[in-house]
């Protein structure tokens, strides 16, 4: 009996569970890719801002003041998106841990059966892990398909959301430093091809960010979660189970 035949049959048999986990994984993949893309858009916006600011002259007093304030707002944005991404990763890990534990409990007799026909803990563990990998792979592909389908809208939405959050974060610095004044003085002596708003952030969409990113990172972290839950939970539990089925 081929290993993969057994794995796919197991996947089909426990399809209800895997459909739930796949929906969860699609949500995880979409959120993870959106957060990573959002961080990249922000980095790009910061780069573009500094480039535009340079046209005023690097030693300009107002430019230095703006650069510091904007830099701080960008740093806050990167921090918050990273913190959010970490939470999503942890939440995904917890969901898989609970789901895996539930499924393992649900398929105890199946584990016994596999031991009874002489399968090793390694073979059983690999079967269960591959079922989960397979379900995550399908979820990942669905997410990639959805992102390709709504690529432009997604970039536009993320840029607009980023701009809005960035504007809010920048506002927080207004009370301590008079940015408005710095602005007026900066623009008073220059003719530029951009406005005050587009100096800070892009317009409706960026020129250099046309596609989302973070696919590999999302795939890797999702797979790692499955590997860890299977190695850390399923395999030890199965080995304990083996003692009951095959007394030694």
């Amino acid at each position: 009996m081929h290993f993969f035949e057994r794995t796919f049959s197991g996947f089909r048999y426990h399809r209800r569970y895997y459909i739930v986990m796949m929906l969860l994984s699609v949500a995880f993949c979409l959120i993870s890719i959106m957060l990573i893309t959002s961080a990249m858009i922000d980095q790009s916006a910061q780069g573009a801002f500094l480039q535009r600011l340079n046209s005023f002259g690097a030693q300009n007093k107002e430019a230095i003041l703006l650069s510091t304030q904007v830099g701080q707002a960008h740093a806050k944005m990167v921090q918050s998106s990273q913190a959010l991404l970490n939470r999503v990763l942890i939440l995904n890990g917890i969901c898989w841990l609970i789901g895996t534990a539930w499924l393992w409990h649900h398929r105890r007799s199946e584990t016994d059966a596999l031991y009874l026909v002489g399968k090793s803990s390694m073979s059983i563990g690999l079967q269960y892990a591959f079922e989960a990998f397979f379900s995550f792979w399908i979820s990942f592909m669905i997410s990639v398909f959805l992102i390709i389908l709504f690529n432009d809208q997604l970039i536009e939405f993320l840029t607009s959301a980023n701009r809005s959050v960035f504007g809010h974060l920048l506002q927080e610095g207004y009370q301590s430093v008079d940015i408005n004044k710095a602005f007026r003085q900066l623009f008073a002596r220059h003719l530029t091809g951009f406005t005050r708003e587009t100096l800070f952030y892009y317009g409706s969409r960026t020129d250099d960010i046309t596609q989302p990113t973070g696919f590999l990172k999302t795939l890797g972290s999702g797979m790692a979660v499955i590997l860890i839950t299977n190695l850390g939970l399923v395999t030890p539990l199965s080995m304990i189970r083996k003692r009951r089925v095959m007394p030694r």
Binding site: M1, E5, Y13, V117, G118, P247
Partner: protein, 189 residues
Amino acid sequence: MLFRSKQLDVYRENLAKLFAPKTIQYLYVPDETSLNDLRDQYIKNFASGGLLKQLAFISSRDTGILDYLSVRNNLYINGHSKNTDFLPEWLNNNSPILDQPAATLDTMQRLYLQFYRGLMGKKRYLLLSGRAEVFDPQVTRAFLTEAHRALQQTDSCLLVLTTDQSLLSANPQNAWKQPPVLSLNTLVK
């Protein structure tokens, strides 16, 4: 290490002499608790003798049958012997039952499937431990007659752990009123 390997060879030889191929051995136990204890003890002994891979299980409770696989996949799960002449018609290559899920089989069919699965996987020993309510005399006789016929075409031996003394009386040449101790120390002296 070399000594251990030699010890295991002797163990295998002595066990093979005790339970000859193509035979059904009847081992008597007074009650179901003793039956389970003896089964567990034999599994431990086979494991310590390095023979677990040569042991197949037949049981009404722990069947080792994966319901989500087809009957064919369950039959071949331990390997696929070239010689399939011993298979009954309902498990033969063209039988429509083979492509059904194993979940559709009834209790007796599941017992037969376990037995033939062991033979397909060329297991040297098949350990049958059944509950009395499943193995009524008529069903048992039919199963053992078919098993005897199939075993003649293989090198396997069926060990029947039973609480039914009449089975021993009917087969005195292979009956064990006192089941043998299969520990490494006992068989390797």
